[in-house]
C-alpha cells in the first residue's frame, strides 16, 4: 500500500526547472523596474507618494529650469505683490518671487532632510547595531551616552550648536543630526536585540561566522526595513524642525530659500500677504504627507508579515511634534529581559 518514498521526491515544481536560472543581477534596470512594479501594485498609495517625491526631487534638481525667476532677486517695485500673471504666487517683502523661492526651497529643504536623515540613519544604525550586538559593558556605556544626548533638551542642543557653529544649512544639518541620531540608535539597537536571537543568526554563529559577517549579512539587512521606515518619517520631521529653527533665527541663513525660512518670515504677513505662508505650507504639507505615506507603504511592502509589531510601534512614535521620537525603551527593555 505504500509507495516507495524517494529521497528526491519528484514534486512537479522541481521537475520543471532543469537548468539553473541566471543569477539575478544585483541592480539591473530590469530588477529595479520589477521591484517598482511590485511596489506599485501592492502599495498604490505609496506609489503615488513616491511619484510626488520624485516630482519634488525633480523640481529641486531642475530648479533653475523650472523656476521663473532667480529666488533671491529682489523686484523692488513689486514688494508684497499678490499672485498675478507675472508672479504666479505673488512676491515677498523684498519683492522676490514666491514661486521661485518655493521651488528653490525644495532644494534646501530636501537637502537638509536627505542629508540629516541619511547621516543620522547611518550613524545611529551603526552605533545601535554594534552596541546591541556586542552588548555588555560597551552597550551600557554607549547607550548611556546616547541617553544623555537625548536627555539634553533638543532646543538647548540645537541652540548651542547653532551658536557655536553659526547658522547655515550645513550646521543645521549637523545640529539636527546630533539630535536625531539617538533615535536611530534606539530602533537599530532594539531591532538588533531582536534579530540577534533569530535562529538564522544562531545558525550563522554555529557555522563559525565572524561578527562583522553576521552584522553585515544577517543583522543589518533584517533591521533595514524598520530603520528605513523610521527614516522616511523622520525625514518629514526634519523638514518641519528646520522651519522651527528658522523661526528662532537659527536655521538656514537668509536669503537661502527654504520652506522653513519662508514660513517663519512670512508668518508676520498672514493677513496682508497670506500667500507668503500658504504656498510654502502647501509644499511642506504635501512633501511631509508624501513621506508619511511612503513610510507606511514601505513598512507594509518590505515586511508584510515580519516585524510588523515592532515597526508599528516605531512608526507611531516618530517625531510627532518635537525633536525626537525617543522611542522604544519598551522595546529595548523587553529585549533586555531575555
Amino acid at each position: 500500500m505504500t509507495q516507495k518514498p524517494t529521497l528526491t521526491d519528484e514534486a512537479p515544481a522541481v521537475r520543471s526547472a532543469p537548468k539553473p536560472p541566471r543569477p539575478p543581477r544585483r541592480l539591473g534596470v530590469r530588477q529595479v523596474l520589477t521591484a517598482l512594479r511590485t511596489f506599485v501594485r501592492s502599495q498604490p498609495l505609496g506609489a503615488a507618494a513616491l511619484l510626488l517625491i520624485c516630482f519634488f526631487v525633480f523640481v529641486a534638481v531642475f530648479a533653475p529650469l523650472v523656476a521663473p525667476y532667480d529666488p533671491v532677486q529682489q523686484f523692488r517695485r513689486d514688494i508684497l505683490e499678490p499672485p498675478s500673471g507675472t508672479y504666479l504666487f505673488g512676491t515677498d517683502d523684498l519683492g522676490r518671487d514666491v514661486l521661485s523661492r518655493t521651488i528653490y526651497g525644495a532644494q534646501t529643504s530636501l537637502l537638509i532632510g536627505v542629508v540629516t536623515t541619511g547621516v543620522s540613519l547611518v550613524l545611529g544604525t551603526a552605533i545601535g547595531v554594534v552596541s546591541g550586538y556586542f552588548g555588555r559593558a560597551l552597550d551600557v556605556v554607549v547607550q548611556r551616552v546616547m541617553d544623555s544626548v537625548q536627555a539634553i533638551p533638543g532646543i538647548v542642543l540645537l541652540l548651542f550648536i547653532a551658536v557655536i557653529l553659526g547658522p547655515s544649512v550645513r550646521n543645521t544639518i549637523i545640529a539636527l543630526t546630533v539630535v536625531i541620531t539617538p533615535s536611530f540608535n534606539r530602533i537599530a539597537r532594539a531591532e538588533t536585540l531582536r534579530v540577534r536571537q533569530e535562529p538564522y543568526v544562531e545558525a550563522a554563529r554555529a557555522t563559525g561566522a565572524h561578527a562583522p559577517r553576521i552584522l553585515a549579512l544577517h543583522v543589518l539587512p533584517n533591521l533595514l526595513a524598520s530603520v528605513l521606515t523610521l527614516g522616511s518619517l523622520i525625514f518629514a520631521g526634519v523638514i518641519i524642525a528646520e522651519s522651527a529653527l528658522s523661526f528662532l533665527g537659527i536655521g538656514a541663513p537668509p536669503p537661502t530659500p527654504s520652506w522653513g525660512l519662508m514660513l517663519s518670515e512670512g508668518v508676520r504677513y498672514v493677513e496682508r500677504a497670506p500667500w507668503l505662508i500658504i504656498v510654502p505650507s502647501i509644499a511642506l504639507s504635501i512633501a511631509v504627507f508624501s513621506f508619511n505615506l511612503l513610510g507606511d507603504a514601505l513598512r507594509d511592502h518590505l515586511d508584510p508579515r515580519l516585524q510588523r509589531r515592532a515597526l508599528d510601534r516605531v512608526t507611531g512614535l516618530w517625531w510627532g511634534r518635537r525633536m525626537l521620537s525617543r522611542l522604544a525603551p519598551s522595546l529595548s527593555r523587553a529585549a533586555d529581559k531575555n
Partner: protein, 319 residues
C-alpha cells in the same frame, strides 16, 4: 522590582552626570559670555570685565568649573543666575508649573483626540472614515505648531476681535482667564501629538484586534463596542503610554516658540533666554532638571506599564 528600579536610577544618575559634562564642554566652545553681554553699552574697561569674569568663575579651566559645580551641586547648591543672582532652583521652580500645565494639557488633548481618532480609524479600517481620519492626522503632522498657533491667534483677532488674556494667571487664581490663555497654545501643541497618538493607536489597535485573545472575546459573544473599548484599547495602551511619556519629556523641552509667542512664563523661555544670555548656571541647571525629568519620565513609564500590564508587574517580559 526594587533592584531593577535602583539600576534604572543608577543609569539615570550616570546620564545626568554625562549631561552635565556635555553641557560644560559645550559651553567652553560657545562664543561670547555673560560678562560681555552685561557690560555692553557701559564703556567699561577690559580689566574690569575680567574682574567680573573671575567673580563668576569664568576664568577657571572648564574642568575646574565642572568640579566646583559638582561639589556645590552635591551640597544642594545648583548655583545662581549670572544676571539676577537668583537661585537657579527658584528660577526653574517658578516657571515649571506653566510648562507642565501646557505640556500636560497639550498631551491630554492630543491623547484624547488621538485615541478617539485612532480607535475610530481602527474600528472602521479600510473605510472612508478611516482614510479621512488618517489624512486629517497627517495633515496636522505636517504643519509646524507655531504656524497653527499664529493662524488661530490671528484668525480669532481678525474675525472675532478676540485675543487671549495677556497676563498669565495660574489656574488657581483665575481659572477662566487661565483657560482662555492656555487654550490656543494647547491646541497648537496638542494637534501634533494628536496626530502621532492617532497613528500609533490605530496601528496598535489593529494589532490587538487581530490577536488571539480578541478572537476569544468575540467568540464569547461580547459586543464589538466592548471588544474595542475594553479589550483592544486597553491592550493598546502600552504602546500609547510609551509615546505619551516620551512626548511629555519632549513637549516640556520644546515649548520655546509657543511660550514666547504667548508670553507664558515657562521653562522653555527661561532656557532659551539663558542660552542666549550665556547664563551658564541657569543653562546647566535647566538641562539637568530636564535630563532628570527625562529619566524620571522613563522610569514612570515603566511603572505605568506595570500598572497596566500584570505580566510586567510580575516581571515577565512583554509578549
Amino acid at each position: 522590582m526594587i533592584g531593577y528600579a535602583l539600576r534604572r536610577l543608577g543609569f539615570g544618575a550616570v546620564v545626568m552626570f554625562l549631561v552635565t559634562v556635555f553641557v560644560f564642554m559645550i559651553m567652553r566652545l560657545v562664543p561670547g559670555d555673560a560678562v560681555s553681554l552685561q557690560l555692553q553699552d557701559t564703556g567699561v574697561s577690559k580689566a574690569e570685565a575680567d574682574a567680573m569674569r573671575a567673580e563668576f568663575g569664568l576664568d577657571d579651566p572648564v574642568w575646574v568649573q565642572l568640579w566646583t559645580w559638582l561639589g556645590d551641586a552635591v551640597q544642594g547648591d545648583l548655583g545662581t543666575s549670572f544676571y539676577s543672582g537668583e537661585s537657579v532652583v527658584d528660577l526653574f521652580l517658578a516657571r515649571i508649573p506653566v510648562t507642565v500645565q501646557l505640556g500636560l494639557m497639550a498631551m491630554m488633548l492630543g491623547a484624547v483626540l488621538g485615541l478617539v481618532v485612532g480607535v475610530v480609524a481602527a474600528a472602521t479600517r479600510g473605510s472612508m472614515v478611516d482614510g479621512a481620519m488618517r489624512l486629517f492626522a497627517v495633515a496636522f503632522l505636517s504643519v509646524p505648531n507655531f504656524v497653527v498657533a499664529l493662524l488661530v491667534l490671528t484668525g480669532l483677532a481678525i474675525w472675532f476681535a478676540w485675543s487671549p488674556p495677556i497676563v498669565y494667571t495660574g489656574p488657581a487664581e483665575d481659572f477662566t482667564s487661565w483657560a482662555q490663555q492656555i487654550a490656543i497654545p494647547v491646541i497648537a501643541l496638542g494637534t501634533g501629538g494628536m496626530a502621532s497618538v492617532a497613528r500609533l493607536t490605530r496601528s496598535s489597535m489593529l494589532e490587538s484586534l487581530g490577536s488571539d485573545y480578541i478572537r476569544t472575546v468575540r467568540a464569547k459573544g461580547v459586543r464589538e463596542r466592548v471588544v474595542i473599548a475594553k479589550h483592544a484599547l486597553r491592550n493598546s495602551t502600552i504602546a500609547v503610554l510609551t509615546l505619551l511619556g516620551l512626548e511629555l519629556a519632549t513637549v516640556l523641552g520644546g515649548t520655546v516658540i509657543i511660550e514666547r509667542m504667548f508670553s507664558l512664563p515657562g521653562t522653555g523661555q527661561l532656557i532659551y533666554q539663558a542660552v542666549l544670555d550665556r547664563d551658564y548656571p541657569v543653562v546647566v541647571a535647566c538641562t539637568i532638571f530636564y535630563a532628570g525629568l527625562f529619566v524620571i519620565t522613563i522610569i514612570l513609564i515603566d511603572l505605568l506599564y506595570a500598572l497596566v500590564d500584570p505580566r510586567i508587574r510580575s516581571g515577565k517580559a512583554l509578549s
